[in-house]
């Protein structure tokens, strides 16, 4: 006990602590240098009146944050982004979960590896290329429209390009592997005997899914949801390319501040507000979820 008191953490001896520090140290140093430092700089920027580059004069202010609360425009966009995040996450779950289930519980052996490769394959190509290839599919007289008109003659134009659904399609495609992978991991951890036990007790497949598989896979679903929801909130490439004029979200606005308007402080402030809201959601949500599972 005396030893562990020295180490500061109960049950961890000094030599073990050294091991932990040696092994985890480089990663933490890396994270501090590459994430925390630039992020701190941005946090500082968000309180400036102008970008302190060149001969511009910048003073400390909170007006960037005030702008968010004063103008409905940002709030509406933020809500729009949240809706987008929620919908994309939902569709990723809707299509990703069954896929993960089949991979984890139905397919065995070599086929599983082959199918896994197909899921990971999109990650190997450039994101921008992937999105532009979607424009080929979705645009007027594109692949999808032609296919539909070939199947159903005189179906007419689909009018999908530069719409909200087009953005959803692109984002779901980009992010669904996260849901499949996290769900796969938690589904695979479910002992097949549990499912058999439930069935032997008279539970049909749907009951097994609802009362056993979904609750047990919930940590994976949640992890996937967080991994998808957060980046979708700030996404700008997919909305811009696939949404065109209607593709304005908080992510595109933030990007504009940095690349077009050159108002880094406002962009930084909006980013931190978004981050704050996400953290708030996690803070409220996670304990509630813990209680459920």
């Amino acid at each position: 006990m005396a030893r562990s008191a020295v180490a500061g953490a109960p049950g961890i001896s000094r030599s073990r602590l050294t091991t932990i520090m040696v092994l985890t140290g480089p990663a933490y140093i890396w994270l501090v240098v590459t994430v925390l430092l630039p992020l701190s700089v941005m946090l500082y920027f968000s309180f400036l009146s102008d970008v302190p580059i060149g001969k511009r004069v910048a003073v400390l202010t909170i007006e960037n944050y005030a702008a968010f609360f004063e103008k409905d425009f940002y709030r509406i966009l933020m809500l729009r982004s949240f809706r987008l995040g929620a919908e994309v996450t939902f569709y990723c779950f809707l299509f990703g979960f069954p896929c993960a289930y089949v991979l984890a519980k139905v397919i065995k052996g070599r086929w599983r590896e082959a199918l896994f490769l197909l899921i990971i394959l999109p990650f190997w190509s450039n994101a921008l290329v992937r999105i532009f290839s979607w424009t080929m599919v979705l645009r007027g007289n594109g692949i999808l429209e032609r296919a539909v008109n070939w199947l159903i003659p005189d179906f007419g134009p689909l009018g999908l390009m530069f719409t909200y659904p087009a953005i959803i399609v692109g984002l779901v495609h980009s992010y669904i592997p996260y849901m499949i992978l996290t769900c796969y991991i938690s589904l695979q951890a479910i002992d097949d005997h549990l499912i058999e036990a439930a069935r032997s007790l008279g539970a049909g497949r749907f009951t097994v899914l609802r009362r056993l598989v979904l609750p047990l896979a919930f940590p994976g679903i949640l992890a996937g949801a967080v991994l998808i929801f957060v980046p979708v909130l700030g996404s700008f490439m997919e909305p811009r390319i696939l949404g065109g004029r209607i593709g304005t979200f908080i992510g595109t606005i933030i990007e504009d501040q940095f690349t077009a308007v050159f108002n880094w402080p406002l962009g930084a402030a909006l980013s931190f507000i978004m981050l704050g809201i996400v953290l708030l959601i996690l803070l409220i949500g996670v304990p509630a979820v813990r209680r459920v599972i």
Partner: protein, 353 residues
């Protein structure tokens, strides 16, 4: 509670014949042990009755009703798995209540029956515990209560005591027997532990390589094995090869073994099984060794002390035989000493090679 019948059930996995035309009738309320080495097909057979494996050919009926095409959840069975398979996201009460809630049983009825079930397995007061807070024996009891609460027609046990340590296993054997008697449910029990099968069951079926080798009461199977496999698998049996001559079995050295049963046609090669504990081992001293019936001259190779008994390994010709001697304060016969082995006529069991 029901009779379960298997008729000519076969199952092939790839090129392996997991089950080969197995027919068994499980009587109403009996405790039947499927005993066999791993890979003998016993678990496949159990899973087939449950409905987890589809049979290639044959028929299965529960209470006279064919069930081959019924999914697991419609078969009204109770099953206990080797690793208990308790639902980790539910507490003890919800685990036991699962089968009832699936059937839409009302809250009051559920509460009463879960209570009854937990009382049956002597596990009252742990309703709110999660499975990870239970000991192995307690998990076992919950699994049993969960399987019985729906009043299934047949109880299937897949090596349910395999994961418990020795002392707890013996305790649970007694418990299991008590509960089974209490509920009077047809119980099919898969095990590779011969002692467990002998202690618990009304009847035992021995499986080997997907075939039913022998079935009968524990006593029958132990005392009258019909094959060399059964003789060796259950208890310690010495197998002696010989040929039928004048109604005796003549061994290679001319020793004649007499058996209570007819050994077979003159001149056919046969195998005799003699249980290690049936053999009388006497120090031969310096005197000449007799060549009577059921009598072998041998030499002590070594002995193994096991507390209540002592096992001698003795050499007869090129073979090593086992002899169990009860510990009654005897003097240990030293290694290399000449001994005489003998046994009663009734203990020479002629078996299929």
């Amino acid at each position: 509670m029901a009779q379960v019948t298997l008729h000519e059930v076969s199952k092939v996995f790839g090129r392996l014949k997991a089950l080969d035309r197995v027919s068994i009738q499980f009587e109403d309320g009996e405790f039947y042990a499927l005993l066999g080495p791993s890979g003998s097909g016993k678990t496949t057979l159990l899973r087939m009755i449950a409905g987890f494996e589809i049979l290639d050919s044959g028929r299965i009926t529960i209470a006279g009703e064919p069930v081959e095409d019924k999914p697991v959840e419609k078969r009204e069975i109770g099953m206990v798995f080797q690793n208990y398979a308790l639902f980790p996201n539910m507490n003890v009460f919800d685990n036991v209540a699962f089968g009832l809630s699936v059937r839409g049983t009302g809250a009051a009825e559920t509460k009463r029956r879960v209570g009854e079930s937990l009382e049956l397995v002597q596990l009252v007061g742990l309703d709110q515990r999660k499975p990870h807070q239970l000991s192995g024996g307690q998990k076992q009891r919950v699994a049993l209560a969960r399987a019985l609460v729906t009043r299934p027609r047949v109880l299937l046990l897949d090596e349910p005591l395999g994961a418990l340590d020795k002392a707890l296993r013996v305790e649970m054997q007694i418990e299991l027997k008590r509960i089974q008697r209490n509920v009077a449910i047809t119980t099919i029990f898969v095990t590779h532990d011969q002692e467990e099968a002998l202690t618990l069951s009304d009847r035992i079926g021995i499986l080997n390589n997907g075939r039913l080798v022998q079935e009968g009461s524990p006593h029958e199977i132990y005392e009258r094995p019909t094959s060399a496999f059964t003789a060796r698998f259950l208890g310690d049996a010495n197998l002696l090869r010989g040929t039928v001559r004048n109604g005796f079995v003549e061994l290679a050295d001319g020793t004649r073994l007499s058996s209570a049963m007819p050994p077979g046609a003159e001149g056919t090669p046969v195998v005799c099984a003699v249980r290690a504990e049936k053999i009388l081992l006497e120090s031969a001293g310096g005197e000449a060794l007799g060549q009577g019936e059921n009598e072998l001259p041998a030499r002590v190779i070594s002995h193994i002390f096991a507390g209540s008994s002592l096992t001698y390994l003795v050499g007869w010709r090129d073979e090593t035989l086992k002899v169990h001697v009860q510990n009654r304060g005897f003097e240990v016969i030293p290694e290399g000493a000449a001994v005489r082995l003998s046994w009663p006529t009734g203990d020479t069991v002629v078996v299929q090679p």
